[in-house]
Symmetry: D2
Subunit: 355 residues, 4 copies
């Protein structure tokens, strides 16, 4: 698998050893990819913030840059500051089955934190390559993603919830990256995992270079008889081991906007851009002793900038990784979406002094 840095794209920040969200210790990710016949091109991605065997909640926060989409469970993250179970990512029309199956899995694990569960499941629409109204994600897929989650290197591109996605009118999908701070700035890691399904071709910017204005061919929404408005979405999950409180994690989530912007997005109406951030620090987040008291660590606002920058960088790089890794796909109605042409991109970067 080729990734953005492998191509030589100049990117900011210093990645962790895996350059993946799994650089955050303990965190695991699972995928189920559903490719069947001519028109099922979808799947599920699952993130267990502390791994699937540790159900302790994490502090979390969300931000909807453009709420034209769904992130179930966001009301409780906002209210209670807690993310109380695994996160699911899938296509727009399969959010419900993923959500209920996560509850089913939690019931089987006896891992509800309250007496009920309102899982966080987010989506992007893969309805151009995938028959989204065929409801191809089934409980077994969700359970498989939940149970098979692991740390280590992650596959990217046409996998899991990102299977059928389109980004800047190239093939998009699942991407990940991480940014590790120097020890003197805390040594913390910020990891990003994105489901990238947004953007019009002309907007695509890589390392400041207006790549999309040159690569105008094979743009499925721009060209053809009926050019379409922006129709995609971007989900960003940011994980960190830095000790941040819920209101600070909302700030982290909001910075994903800047990472998205660095790839050229202009935030079209149809793009549901919804972001989630959580911290695996504070193992007693949300829990207290018999009197309800917990002792927590928190970073002060005046030391938070390196984490903000890392969040921007990791988001940008995860989006580019999704695009660089994704492969050309043919799906529903015979539509083909091309992969990002690596060589052409690097030629353009060189032309603009960035190669």
């Amino acid at each position: 698998m080729t990734r953005a840095r492998d191509l030589g794209i100049p990117l900011a920040g210093t990645p962790g050893p895996l350059n993946a969200i799994t650089d955050v210790p303990g965190l695991t990710v699972g995928f189920a990819t559903v490719i069947k016949g001519d028109s099922a091109r979808t799947g599920v991605t699952v993130i267990h913030p502390r791994g699937q065997f540790n159900h302790a909640p994490v502090f979390a926060g969300t931000f909807a840059f453009n709420g034209n989409g769904e992130m179930t469970g966001a009301a409780w993250v906002e209210e209670g500051g807690l993310l109380e179970g695994p996160i699911g990512l899938t296509n727009t029309h399969s959010v419900g089955i993923v959500r209920d199956t996560i509850i089913h899995w939690q019931a089987a694990q006896d891992s509800f934190f309250q007496k009920w569960s309102c899982p966080v499941v987010a989506e992007t629409a893969d309805g151009w390559l995938n028959d989204m109204n065929g409801f191809h994600v089934e409980p077994e897929h969700v359970l498989s993603a939940l149970d098979s989650a692991k740390g280590g290197s992650l596959p990217e591109g046409n996998i899991g919830g990102g299977t059928g996605m389109i980004c800047y009118e190239f093939k998009g999908g699942t991407g990940t990256a991480s940014c590790k701070l120097p020890e003197k700035l805390g040594g913390w890691t910020v990891g990003a995992l994105v489901q990238a399904n947004f953007g019009r071709r002309h907007q695509l910017t890589i390392a400041g270079v207006p790549v999309g204005q040159h690569l105008t061919e094979d743009a499925p929404f721009t060209n053809g008889e009926n050019p379409l408005a922006e129709q995609g979405s971007l989900i960003v999950v940011l994980a960190t081991d830095a000790p941040l409180l819920p209101h600070q994690l909302k700030r982290i989530a909001r910075r994903a906007t800047l990472g998205m912007a660095r790839t050229g997005s202009l935030g079209g109406n149809g793009s549901g851009d919804i972001f989630l951030a959580f911290s695996t620090a504070n193992s007693s987040a949300g829990r207290g002793d018999e009197n309800g008291l917990a002792t927590l660590q928190a970073l002060s606002n005046d030391k938070i900038d390196p984490l903000f920058y890392a969040s921007v960088y990791a988001t940008e790089e995860a989006i580019l990784n999704a695009m660089v890794s994704a492969e050309t796909m043919t799906g529903k109605d015979g539509i083909t979406v091309k992969a990002l042409p690596h060589e052409d991109v690097m030629d353009l970067l060189k032309r603009y002094g960035r190669g």
Copy 2:
């Protein structure tokens, strides 16, 4: 069926002819009630803002007084100001199946407003009387509620999504009411439909009378060996034919808080109190001509007070109707929750000069 006004409880506001959310012209409501064996005590309630044959979106707004619960689709209501399909209400762990089945129904009707759908489905937890982890709501129930929706008088209490609910430790459930303004104030109707599943016994207040402080018996969470914290939730749906814009409908939704407060709630942590308001005025809401332009009507803020008051009154009365109509139920683990004792309540009201 006995309702709060039938008992002689003094209530504010002048109801519409049905004293139900269906007093809002065109609106229809459907129910599916799932009572099976010892422990399935649940169901689905569906509201079609303009009836199930008119899929035009409505302006809408939401408010989470306490986001310890779920209302899917809220992100787009907030962002786009639009509610683009039917609303579902069910138990906490069946939100997903209701959501996805609404999409399935919309696909069959070819009624998506965008190219995808993120339906609004809200919940309250019926896990004391209902085996919530048995996932007893099935697609056929949802489709039945969607297709059988109608206007006119509505059943209340142990029906639809409200089947297994508990309110102030009496049997709760589905309730409705409406408030109609005098013609000189616009003649508009505000209708409420609630799924009432909240409150501790001692808090219960009816017409200002601290009823719950006297009726201390048979309170399942307060008494017994392990008194529990507040565990329920309240969903309020407010509909009006007054021409309000999305930001004004958020204000309407927020006023449901005051209606809830008038019944005594103290807003406990466990109670997910989430409210939705929409307006059936402006048939071109969200739609424009070929240039995207729509002509709309809107009421100015300085004339909105009567609608605010109506929203408070209708919410309060719908909650009381849910409790007055609900009947004693025995469910999971043989737990029995008693109906509100009408006669005792009225005796207390008289003792406090309110009978």
Copy 3:
């Protein structure tokens, strides 16, 4: 000075020793009352969360039930979770002078927490009794309130920022109360200070009794040739020594809505009802060691209900204390607003079985 409990009004919760916001250890309150000539009836109230000699920030959160008003500094409370200096309350048109003078005072104390200050100053409109466009609050008043702040018993009614206020068409003003939890629930105190300037006469409810529907005389907005829409506002400041995080303090602030509702408010358009909550626990809130790390205590959500209830009760009682303490005032244009008639109120309470 007579207070609500002195009259025998039955109220919930157990007050702290002073039944005032100053029951929260360390907190001080200062007032400057500006009564001059026929039409200056205004002033300033100042709250120092940790007293005027301790400038350490406190965790805080806000809620605007109805944002028809002003609370400067709210953006940073929401973003940073911190309240970094004293709070000012005044009339609507003097917010600016109070704000800038607080900065001036902070500069003199060298007490900025960041390199700048965005103080929290909130307001209610006293334009019926006070010549609000005469800008009668001057820097010297603000400095006097800041410097003279103290703990202990507090004056109420026609004092400080509350001087010219009207509540339920009786004389309103400044009120305070507190609620102390039993030791086994943490022993924490929630104190409220309100600037009460809201409500129409017919709405006034005391201990569940519809007092305002009987006391219909001398209601300046309801009667007369030109009855007016609701025009007032309510500011609530809730302080606690319980260790709550910023997102939890937003929840506390939101509960002030229920306290307001218990006095009968229907949340009219003109009433800017904005609430602030802060916690004096966690002396290192917002500060860290040389690496930016602070060790904090936090209460878990499942133990927070008693603090929610205390917030509701203290808000309700502070509003009633404002009204019970306020005295009849004649102001601008010779308008007279009558004090709440204690005896008539208690007669009504008795008639409704609540005396």
Copy 4:
């Protein structure tokens, strides 16, 4: 005065005739610049949405990307959807005097829309070049800016509220730009006016070129003995004549984030980035006939993308115009902040294929 396009910086979008916020018909802008002695380097900028002789409110919405700053009046914009008077921009510690003086001016004009006023005044901190604690903005400056406002071409750089600002560690200040849609997309204009005072040198990006990574000299916060954290802020005001509703204007305001991002910002903690958008369409916004009813026009969401893009472009260009126009300034404590070196910038752009 040289502007960004004059230098040949390649920028997106087609500007209106003035390439200024004053391309929005009727809108006027006034400035008062306060430069006195060694250390007063500040001022006031005023925007009258419909000009200073038309006090009809406009629909509006706000967004705080980073609420480390102040925008008074934002609560009512959020709640009521209305901006009811002129907007003021100034330094952080003069917000109060600007706010109260706007009220004074409104009282003199008899132009309150409600019975009180909560003006929108926003700020950025000029405390490095200006003695912010000297409170050098006085009522006469504010009145002068209010009364002298006009349409037509606008001065930029070291003027009005932007006088003492620093942006990416070059001299910043006031900037403006506009973007005009083709007639077939509605022909509407989006104008931006910014007070640009944010960013670290290394972040500065112009037309995708990492200019700031090359121009490392004379960066006052980065270099020297005590490098500082990001300390500035960005205020963006977006005006349009497109018929948008308040919830849509919040979306417009949010897009300013992307314009900011395109100049390189990473959203540091200290930067209070707060944005306001309003529409001068709908002259009856907020007003109704005797029954409170108004007839409005609104654009549907599916046609809004060109306005989103225009908002991004105009924000980006207004920031660059602020920097390109600003001149080197020496202020408090003898600190000198250099102007953006035009030639060096264009050399770098050429080196990166963008000249």
